[in-house]
Symmetry: D2
Subunit: 281 residues, 4 copies
């Protein structure tokens, strides 16, 4: 497939959805030139939304994180996280009571700020679980894995309740070479032990795209053909965008690399509409 | 879990989404009393939508099929099929050219009525496939399985293109005891041979719920809490409804039976909000 | 990894186990030069066994097939098929009664020649299944797939009995470009519909290697370090040989190709001890 | 299925293979009456072997553990562990160099006592991994899970080498209600993140049965029909025994319970030849 220039392509669209990690930033910080690229999107009058499977930060915390690495123009309302969708799910399902979680207290505070009492797994009393009404996999930090994973398994063996995975990614990059197992990976271990399937949120599921689509239609009149989805990962960004019916642009600045993108596209059958090295050109 | 009465429950909602097979009809025809139940829904002023993973019939053909078995009040616009979503996907992605398919010519005519030339697998010339731009799994009928499955495998080994599964169900009931393997099951065989994942449409994916939700909001102002999803299958109707954020009612007149529903709920962890024997009470 | 010469390598071993398809023959017949290579193995005094996942032919039929394509020196006792192991399993488990099967009558005659009445799926009377005691997936030929697959699903929904897959391969090559779905692939479709796991025979399972190992030890004193396993497929020949504790030689004349073997080894983590283009050098 | 008495059944066999956990012992210690049952097996002149997927203890340590809970008659040579098979595999494959592992130093000492230098994951220097030649999942204890799992993932992303799972069980019981995730479960998490399949040892694979079978044939002349496999778990003991061609006896004193064994047999299709409440009768 031929590569295109991001700037030339976006002129055909009225809105741009971008993934965060691998498109805007990487483990070292903001990807060089992204500030200019985002400025270009705005100068051209395009609507922008960032769609991220990072469920550990609120919208405000995401904005602050981008500021800290040098991108000052993102607004809270432009950021859509899988955690927001998981939280909406719970808000509709469960009005009062306790929700147990694996993650940091800060991710739980953000996640469960609606009259619900969050209970970290470490504090569950396995003999007194009647008033816990749901379980959420929030973040890979904030608990001892050995204790937390085993206790979660035994809690879920005792109590049948809705189990939500707020970030379905298996891992995330932490350096040029290395990755860290994400809470979505840990949730799969527990699914495998229990022989159950939990409720997952995040790309490639259509829900996040639909949320963003409904959201921008409050500010204008957009059809799907007006929107370009930009991402670095075939199985989440591109599959999700394709399935929702958007045109998709694969960038090679993240998970999918210039040296193997053709092999990956061929072996997965997930085909972007366009390919570019990065959003800088 | 305690059982409830359908009639008492729907009074709390402004709209009702119902699955077709196992709720309204079964292999013998209309389930006894369904006509009265649907009349009750209308008399109470509730909005109705039928959400079905049956991709082999158009909306009009669905209406006709329901008429033939004795339910005359359904309108074409009240029926939402996974095939409609798959078709929207293709309409946005592919404007001209040929699309190959497994299924009946009539399912293809309905599916691909937009300036695209449908090519049944049997008529693909494997040496001349440049102008085929997508592949659709439509229906389990209309082709010889031995020839059709093998030819599809070899076509997809030669050409990398979007592959769509219009109905993700593995099988469907054809009598009290027996089932038939659906095109979603056949697609899984081919995925397994090719070691690929195709693009699926249908419940439990959020897209179909979102389509129905957007649709009814053209006629009024509905929030998710105004809608009850009614279905007989945990993995499609109830999981999908739960995930989209609707209240869910499991009926025991189809796939999930009175004698084993508790075991199935416990072993899957997919928990409906309500349970009823059928929509007749 | 560096490539080696087959002839130089086998001098270090007392016995050679070889896969059939992709090493000795391909869709066009005997691979050029194989006759000389086999002669070399014999001239060097090495014991030879052919280990094949082809369950549709008896040992005698295998010998005949090799004769027909020009290899006259193989003896019946040198050939070990996954079907033989599946048959041993049944002989030990079931002494009388009927066994239903998917496959050709000739594969069934060979397979079930021990006082058992074979019943092709097409002839099962679903209302009279009490005396059928096992089910075998034998061959992808000999039945109409549409009827045979659906009837098998419904038979297995009605009766809980041992289900054996005599060839676990998903597909086999039929030309340079094309493959055919094997009975192992069809069995997976039915497993997926029924949500069950059947009993499989064939490489990479240790049983076939252990059978060959016990067999040659009737004729001499062989330890595992005396044996070289030669095959073209990482997931069956090489993984199975590695797991059983043999040294393994990957040949690039079949499933694994010179242009992508390194990628495949890296992505699977299945590492042969040696690699060669073919057994001809 | 009708239940039988263990004592009446074993009179038909010359050798008895028994699983350890759930048959001989449970989380509280020796199961009541097991000492008498084992004495009966010996008094009747039957050969005994214990086949266990516990790879964390040597044969001597197993004997000591059984002594500590009150069973004094087991000999080291009667115990066969999946760890022994994994170790044989490595001994044949790798003669010198370093092998990295997840587990306790004591499990590594036992496992790797043959001129190999064991390296716990915590001590791997990711910049200096050239002389590490294999990786073993040994035990769920002896490392911090957060650090150990992440470091293992990144080590295996950098180096392509044989990866062995010495115990394929996902979890093991630690009390009447509770389980602990086993190293086999942790290995699956890492497989899922890396999208690889490791080399597993242990039941239901035929290798362990073949090892025991070859072993007892040093002391007499046993055919498969002379041996009864006794176990509490359908997917390991019974499937493995069935597949290897032994008669199988399911005991209901462990994983499979009197209240749900019929449902489990029906839903898995794994059918024992006999069923008994325990080996005490």
């Amino acid at each position: 497939m031929e590569k295109v220039s991001f700037k030339s392509i976006i002129s055909n669209y009225k809105a741009v959805f971008v993934d965060s990690y691998g498109v805007l930033k990487n483990h070292q910080g903001l990807i060089d030139g992204v500030e200019t690229a985002i400025k270009h999107v705005r100068d051209e009058g395009k609507i922008l939304r960032v769609l991220t499977n990072d469920a550990s930060r609120s919208q405000d915390e995401q904005v602050e994180m981008f500021m800290n690495i040098g991108l000052n123009t993102l607004k809270s309302s432009e950021i859509i996280t899988s955690g927001m969708l998981a939280r909406h799910f719970l808000e509709l399902k469960i009005k009062t009571g306790k929700i147990a979680y694996l993650g940091t207290p800060s991710s739980a505070r953000y996640f469960l700020q609606f009259g619900i009492e969050p209970v970290p797994v470490a504090e569950i009393d396995l003999e007194d679980i009647d008033d816990i009404l749901a379980f959420v996999f929030l973040d890979d930090e904030g608990f001892d894995w050995n204790e937390g994973i085993n206790k979660t398994v035994n809690f879920l063996r005792r109590k049948n309740l809705p189990v939500i995975v707020a970030n379905s990614d298996k891992y995330y990059p932490i350096s040029n070479n290395d990755v860290a197992v994400a809470i979505g990976g840990i949730s799969r271990l527990i699914e495998s032990v229990l022989n159950q399937k939990f409720i997952r949120f995040g790309k490639p599921d259509s829900q996040m795209f639909m949320y963003a689509y409904d959201d921008i239609n409050k500010y204008g009149n957009f059809s799907k053909s007006d929107i370009l989805m930009v991402g670095d990962t075939l199985h989440t960004d591109i599959l999700g965008g394709n399935k929702f019916g958007l045109k998709t642009l694969l960038v090679l600045s993240g998970n999918t690399r210039p040296e193997n993108f053709e092999m990956k596209i061929n072996s997965t059958g997930i085909i972007p509409d366009y390919i570019t090295d990065s959003i800088l050109t």
